[in-house]
């Protein structure tokens, strides 16, 4: 892996994203609109809002990064630039690290906006240290970037990337403890839920926000998320050069 190549790819992704003003606006505005609706819906039920808000924040993080990376990488394949990259001296690691770095920036922007809105405007309970929330959510971003690149291998066009959204997200939405807490689910669903990355991110963020835990209390969740990140990184690097 070489730093200059990684930085060049990250820089290129940032330029490309900055040209796509509408997508940029959407990754900030869309989560805020949903968050505002949820805030209004549960205005009288603070405990429900306190439980749902951290779950939604993690879902947005996973969702937008996944879609952006998936579509960007698909374009890279379909417009032939990936083939061209394979004829240069760039490595798989450079490409993945560059994508990660580029999209981390936009994930970070989104997180700042959502967390500010949730905690300051909606007044959702936040007990822990804010920087600790960033650690959890940026780790989830790493999972998401690699998942997006991996899944884009199986899509031939943008429509198919969209088709993967329900496949990847519906199980996580229903099983990650967002709608129903994990301990109220049938045993077999609980087992499935523990095979999904979002479950651990939601758990960790809820613990931080509602219970005031610190990262030290969430080592299992962080460890599992890191394992997912590494696992998807390996899967993505196996498929990254397939043009």
């Amino acid at each position: 892996m070489t730093i200059d190549r990684t930085l060049a790819i990250a820089h290129r992704i940032i330029i490309q994203m900055l040209h796509d003003r509408r997508s940029l606006a959407l990754i900030i505005v869309a989560p805020l609109v949903v968050m505002a609706l949820v805030g209004l819906t549960f205005a009288d039920q603070r405990d429900v809002l306190n439980r749902v808000a951290p779950a939604l924040i993690t879902t947005f993080t996973l969702f937008f990064t996944f879609v952006l990376t998936g579509v960007s990488f698909l374009r890279e394949r379909s417009q032939g630039t990936l083939e061209r990259l394979t004829t240069t001296t760039v490595s798989r690691g450079d490409i993945l690290a560059g994508y990660l770095l580029g999209f981390l920036l936009f994930a970070l922007l989104q997180l700042v906006a959502i967390l500010f809105f949730t905690i300051v405007v909606l007044q959702v309970t936040y007990q822990g240290a804010i920087w600790e929330a960033f650690v959890i959510l940026l780790l989830l971003t790493v999972v998401s970037v690699n998942l997006g690149i991996f899944v884009s291998t199986f899509a031939r066009n943008e429509f198919q990337v969209v088709q993967f959204i329900p496949l990847v997200f519906a199980p996580q939405l229903f099983l990650a403890g967002i709608l129903v807490p994990l301990n109220q689910m049938p045993r077999y669903l609980e087992i499935i839920a523990h095979g999904l990355p979002l479950t651990y991110a939601v758990e960790a963020l809820q613990d931080l926000m509602i219970r005031g835990n610190s990262l030290g209390d969430e080592l299992v969740q962080l460890g599992v998320l890191a394992a997912f990140a590494v696992g998807f990184f390996v899967l993505a690097s196996l498929t990254v050069k397939r043009t």
């Binding site: 070489t2 200059d4 190549r5 330029i15 032939g80 083939e83 061209r84 004829t87």
Partner: protein, 251 residues
């Protein structure tokens, strides 16, 4: 195992190379040699195997049989730094400016230090006549200009071997002539150029030609040699091409 050293000046040496996509044979015992500093044209119909052949020379595909040497290396991806490639699709980033595109690919070739890279980008863009348009976003450029950006990317790391996949398709006659002026200049300075085409206009500009049909070379030589072999000095290159292709079909 003994590896034959390519004879002096042979930049590319293919011997009985075979390749198939699954069960579909694309290259069928193809042999050819390309000398340094020459412009070598791969002529053939769509689907004849030209792009596959270029990908084997790049190393993104590997031959299933036969032997292949590119600049003395049997795994060309190891010498990626010495090969410039212009794919059939322009394969450039539309959101980036002309200069950003060329600069990006220069960095992908490991040109990390910025001063020599900037001068390499500048000279590549001057070759294709786009230095004055360097800040334009590619999205706003015409097809021919995008093709020039793509060519500049292939040139930026100053490789001794250029592989160009149908570089003149869709160009207007004036731009086509400009491209050929560039190719001739590069060849004169020692760069070897292998390009694919299916037009006789391109063929006439090449030093050497290989007519390719169904993954085999059906005839090889200079344009003059091929015309003579096909029926004498009055025969056109098109006559020669059709002559050899028909001969290949009847075999």
């Amino acid at each position: 195992m003994t590896e034959s050293t390519p004879e002096f000046g042979a930049v590319v040496d293919l011997d009985q190379v075979g390749f198939a996509y699954g069960k579909r044979t694309v290259l069928d015992g193809l042999s050819l040699q390309v000398q340094q500093g020459s412009i070598f044209g791969l002529l053939g119909a769509n689907g004849a195997g030209k792009t596959t052949l270029l990908r084997l020379l790049l190393g993104t595909l590997e031959p299933e049989s036969g032997s292949l040497q590119v600049l003395g290396e049997s795994h060309p991806l190891r010498i990626a730094r010495r090969i410039g490639y212009m794919p059939q699709l322009n394969a450039i980033y539309l959101e980036l400016s002309v200069q950003q595109n060329v600069d990006f690919f220069a960095r992908m070739f490991g040109m990390a230090s910025s001063k020599p890279r900037h001068s390499a980008v500048e000279s590549a863009l001057k070759v294709v006549g786009l230095w004055d348009r360097r800040d334009d976003q590619v999205l706003l450029l015409s097809g021919g200009m995008r093709q020039r950006v793509s060519l500049a990317i292939a040139l930026v790391h100053q490789p001794p071997l250029l592989l160009l996949d149908e570089p003149t398709v869709g160009l207007d006659p004036e731009l086509r002539a400009t491209f050929w002026d560039h190719f001739r200049e590069l060849a004169t300075s020692g760069t070897t150029i292998i390009l694919s085409s299916h037009t006789m206009d391109d063929a006439a500009h090449c030093d050497q030609l290989a007519f390719i049909q169904e993954g085999r070379v059906v005839a090889q030589g200079s344009p003059a040699e091929l015309r003579t072999a096909a029926g004498g000095p009055e025969a056109t290159l098109e006559d020669a091409f059709l002559h050899f292709i028909r001969l290949g079909q009847s075999q």
